[in-house]
């Protein structure tokens, strides 16, 4: 049975999903959703890299230390620091999502989103202090 489609209702065209997504009005929740996805994909990609990067443990001390030496540059520490930003956002926003699901958070999800950023930025700066105090 073919369904009648009202021509006045704009249907979602999958071929234009980027355009369609960009056209939506974005409030805090939409940004949380977008950033949660981006950070999630980045983190799983990093996890694969991480398993690969510690794999010289199989060959013993010399091989492992040679590999680790390439990761001890200041530039790499900056990359690690920003990786922590992704971890922080994903973890804190994940907690926000759980509160929305289980603790009536839908009534105060915008405040929670604000706390996500406030707590996130504070912990990000604290981690910078900890990480770079070992280097400089």
């Amino acid at each position: 049975m073919a369904e009648k489609i009202n021509p006045k209702i704009k249907t979602f065209d999958q071929k234009e999903w980027v355009k369609t997504n960009l056209s939506y009005k974005k409030d805090s929740g939409s940004w949380a959703w977008i950033l949660h996805r981006i950070s999630g994909v980045a983190l799983i990609a990093y996890l694969f890299l991480h398993i690969w990067s510690i794999s010289p443990l199989v060959q013993g001390k010399a091989a492992f230390e040679q590999k680790m030496a390439t990761y001890s540059s200041t530039l790499f520490s900056f990359v690690e620091w920003f990786l922590f930003a992704f971890v922080l956002f994903h973890a804190l926003n994940g907690v926000r999502i759980i509160i929305v699901d289980w603790a009536d958070g839908a009534k105060y999800h915008k405040q929670l989103y604000l706390y996500t950023w406030v707590i996130g930025i504070l912990l990000f700066l604290a981690m910078g202090l900890i990480m770079f105090s070992h280097i400089f």
Binding site: E3, I5, I9, T11, Q14, W17, R37, G40, V41, L43, I44, L47, F48, I51, I54, S55, L57, V58, Q59, G60, K61, A62, F64, E65, M68, F84, V87, A91, G94, V95, I98, D101, M127, I130, M131, H134
Partner: protein, 123 residues
């Protein structure tokens, strides 16, 4: 227009597992960051890794961490694809690719942990 399409899976299990693994991962990640970044010398050297791996309970924690992280990550990727109305052939291809990739990396991680010997370190 967006009517429910023939699937017995409502996604409820996937939803609850994603939340449980998510909470566990936050706890593991806090421990991981404290261990690795408060004192890099005590966390990242071969000697430090070797010393930790002498405790079987630490190996269990490590392997639980990586298993949950891979599950959570790949289930999340699948969650993104599930937002779109894919053909069943495409779905099977994506799920197979995620499973093969995930299991390969999971076994690699297990292999790395179990390759570290008890007793005497490798040179």
């Amino acid at each position: 227009m967006f009517k429910y399409k023939s699937s017995k899976d409502t996604g409820a299990k996937s939803w609850i597992y994603q939340r449980i693994s998510g909470i566990a991962l936050v706890v593991f990640a806090i421990g991981h960051y404290i261990l690795m970044h408060f004192q890099p010398e005590a966390g990242k050297t071969y000697e430090a890794v070797f010393a930790r791996m002498q405790f079987s309970w630490y190996r269990i924690i490590d392997l639980t961490f990586v298993t949950l992280a891979l599950y959570h990550g790949l289930n999340g990727i699948w969650g993104i694809f599930r937002d779109y109305d894919l053909k069943s052939g495409t779905k099977i291809t994506i799920i197979s690719a995620l499973l093969i990739f995930g299991l390969a990396f999971l076994f690699w991680a297990y292999y790395i942990v179990f390759s570290i010997p008890y007793g005497k370190p490798m040179p």
